[in-house]
């Protein structure tokens, strides 16, 4: 990874001598470790975008250079990477990182140095409550609160009255428990059980029997990766007939592979890009989604795209527009003033259409997504070819 970064640096220096100095953007992603399945498509997307923007002649005539660091899904390494990018590489802004805990740890060094940052992690705590430090931090992925809304609305539409929750006993599951239970209460649903299980569990019979004893009309499973297959399979084996919901953490092909027939009929919220080809023609993100997936698959292979790369695409869509506006007002040689103006311009982002929704930032809202465009409900179905796939069942426009 370091080798690549140095290589890019050398290339950038070469180009820089020939023309103008490049605009240096720092990137921290989790390209290895447990977060790798998210971090790799993010990195791939940014490499693709860097290539494209420089082929088009750069931003306002200046080449763009991404300095990409891998934090190995580790909090300490993320902080070290951020410090290096700020002090040694003197970047204008930082994109990243992939996971919530590492992003939260990066807030301090970033705010101290006054560098604008666009995070690719999900949790709402990254940008709320707004304070003097978080004014430098922005993010692109939907929060649990926003993803809870479509689930609750879909439950209401299916006449669900009593609902049970079972989620990971870690930050992901607890975050969902809090967000979903609040949203459910507001919509008048009864949360009759709230259980936990661990990613490493091999049996959840106890929890599932407790849930079944409460007779819920629907069950939401709050987990990511492939581990949420287990509670769902146990529910099916115990003869549960109600609706089963999952979170967008399972919107990956591995979940379908491990789940097999047990996960047919699962309903989950997801960014619109997951089912881009099924979106109605007027859907605001459809064109962006199609062109992004086309470019990504042209470079990395058919079927290689994932929703996570879309968050990196959105971060650059916001940042590049803000950079163009800033370059009209300020010179990058005046580093501190440039970073500060760039921050103001990111905050002034209005109507940027990304792969996951339309971004309208404000001083209070550093995400700027509305769930109406940023989430759709999908269902796991068996396609005519016998494989499992995602089917769009509801949009919220």
């Amino acid at each position: 990874m370091k080798g690549i970064a140095v290589g890019i640096l050398a290339l950038g220096l070469g180009l820089g001598l020939a023309q103008q100095a490049p605009l240096k953007i720092g990137v921290v992603v989790s390209a290895t470790g447990p977060g790798a399945s998210l971090g790799i498509p993010e990195r791939n997307t940014l490499l693709l975008l860097e290539d494209q923007v420089n082929k088009r002649g750069g931003l306002a005539g200046r080449p763009v250079q991404f300095i990409i660091m891998d934090d190995a899904s580790d909090t300490t390494q993320a902080v070290r990477a951020a410090r290096k990018l700020i002090q040694e590489d003197q970047v204008l802004a930082i994109i990243g990182t992939t996971t919530t805990p590492a992003t939260l740890a990066m807030i301090d060094p970033i705010a101290e140095a006054g560098v604008p940052n666009i995070s690719l992690a999900a949790n709402r705590e990254i940008v709320a409550p707004m304070d003097d430090k978080r004014k430098w931090i922005f993010k692109t992925p939907q929060t649990e609160e926003q993803m809870s809304q479509p689930i609750v609305q879909d439950m209401k539409a299916n006449n669900v009255k009593n609902v049970a929750y079972i989620g990971f006993n870690d930050a992901y599951g607890e975050g969902w428990a809090k967000a979903f239970e609040a949203a459910a209460k507001e919509a008048g649903l009864n949360v009759v059980a709230s259980e936990r299980f661990s990613r490493t569990d091999t049996s959840v019979t106890g929890q599932i029997l407790r849930i079944l004893s409460k007779n819920p009309d629907a069950v939401l499973i709050g987990g990511s990766g492939t581990a949420p297959v287990l509670p769902q399979r146990t529910l099916k084996e115990r003869g549960y007939k109600g609706l089963i919901y999952q979170t967008h953490g399972v919107a990956n092909p591995d979940f379908l592979r491990v789940g097999g027939d047990a996960v047919i009929g699962t309903r989950l919220p997801a960014g619109p890009i997951l089912v881009f080809d099924q979106l109605p023609s007027g859907f605001p993100t459809k064109r962006v989604d199609q062109s992004y997936v086309q470019q990504y698959e042209a470079k990395y292979g058919i079927g290689s795209y994932s929703t996570f790369g879309g968050h990196a695409y959105d971060a650059w869509a916001i940042l590049s527009a803000a950079l163009e506006r800033t370059l009209k007002k300020e010179q990058p040689t005046n580093l501190q003033a440039f970073r500060s103006t760039l921050r103001d311009e990111i905050e002034a982002t209005k109507g940027v259409v990304g792969t996951h929704g339309i971004f309208n930032m404000s001083p209070q809202d550093h995400l700027g997504l509305k769930f109406n465009e940023a989430a759709v409900m999908v269902e796991v179905v068996k396609t005519p070819s016998g494989k499992l796939g995602w089917k769009l069942i509801r949009t919220f426009q």
């Binding site: 079972i166 936990r196 990613r199 407790r210 990766g225 297959v229 491990v258």
Partner: protein, 343 residues
């Protein structure tokens, strides 16, 4: 909590308890003979089924592996080759080890090209099996006569190494394996997966086999002699090193076959072995790490307690299981005979 729930929980408790029992038996066996608390047994439990994934046709596993040789085969033959280097003073053994190392790679290559499922099943066990005895030769035998604590530290280090390698070899996600027996049988109103009966059958077979081995066979009696008194055993011409290989070999065989039988019921992933190993260890401790029958009872108790804890208070399930260790350790330390510190 009514009868239905109790019987459902009991069915699951027996299933996980049986696996803990098999692990506990292997742990006790290894500890009695070599004084090693073999923490990485849990990793060996998942290595075999994850290796089996590479031998399945892509229609069954859902993966495109293109005849790739699983990392465990490289690890296995690498350990055997290092063993050969360590034993270079003994040419005939070197020759046997090198042949074995090549054989492991050959079997893995054949398996990865696509074979009948039953053959792939056996190949997966054979590929993983040498890792156990080779680990003993490479990591524990050089520290001969070390204290139990030193062995434990080595074992924990080995656990981290094998778990890390598991992540490299197999990636972070789970896999789905086809069961040997599909479908369910109803016992009363409780449905039990037919595959689980294979696990029970293997557990009974293991217990019977170990009993016969230790009471009837000369090898078994030699192992017991080693467990009771190493010096005395050596005086009678029993090699403790030889006993170590046999103990590690039997333990690895028990654990790999258990893993293969269990895998279709749990969707294995690289990280799952450790908790099985730890709970098997708790079960072994309940039997004082010396008694086989007590270890089996302890394992069933751990399985039952775990299901109950999952039902009553799921966020604290694992914490409650490991908290079970505290009163037992306290009680045992009050009436201990300094197990393992003699010699």
């Amino acid at each position: 909590m009514d009868w239905t729930i109790v019987s459902f929980l009991a069915a699951d408790a027996v299933q996980s308890g049986t696996i803990y029992a098999l692990l506990a038996l292997s742990l006790v066996l290894v500890f009695a003979v070599t004084r090693v608390i073999l923490v990485p047994l849990g990793e060996l439990l998942v290595f075999a089924p994850l290796t089996y994934v590479f031998f399945l046709p892509s229609g069954v596993s859902g993966l495109e592996l293109h005849g790739q040789i699983p990392g465990t085969a490289w690890l296995s033959s690498f350990l055997l080759l290092v063993w050969a280097v360590l034993d270079r003073a003994n040419p005939s053994r070197v020759a046997r080890l090198v042949v074995l190392a090549l054989l492991v790679l050959g079997l893995a290559w054949v398996g990865a090209r696509g074979v009948a499922p039953w053959l792939g099943w056996i190949l997966a066990v054979l590929v993983v099996l040498p890792i156990g005895p080779a680990s003993y030769r490479l990591f524990f035998q050089p520290a001969q006569n070390a204290s139990v604590l030193t062995y434990l530290i080595i074992a924990v280090g080995l656990h981290f190494a094998y778990q890390g390698l598991g992540l490299v070899f197999f990636g972070p996600e789970q896999y789905r394996l086809p069961p040997i027996l599909s479908g369910q049988t109803n016992l009363g109103m409780v449905p039990i997966n037919n595959q689980a009966f294979l696990v029970y059958g293997f557990a009974l077979l293991t217990m019977l086999g170990l009993y016969l081995f230790f009471t009837r066979s000369l090898y078994g009696k030699a192992l017991r002699a080693c467990a009771v008194n190493r010096y005395g055993a050596r005086l009678l011409g029993i090699s403790p090193a030889q006993a170590g290989y046999v103990a590690f070999g039997i333990a690895t065989l028990i654990v790999t076959v258990s893993g293969m039988l269990l895998a279709p019921l749990i969707s294995p992933a690289y990280f799952q072995g450790f908790l099985f190993g730890l709970k098997g260890f708790v079960a072994g401790i309940l039997g004082g790490l010396v008694s086989y029958p007590l270890a089996v009872l302890g394992a069933l108790a751990v399985g039952g307690f775990e299901q109950w804890a999952g039902y009553v208070s799921s966020p604290f399930k694992d914490a409650l299981v490991f908290a079970l260790l505290l009163p037992v350790l306290l009680w045992r330390s009050l009436r201990s005979h300094e197990i393992g510190e003699e010699e």
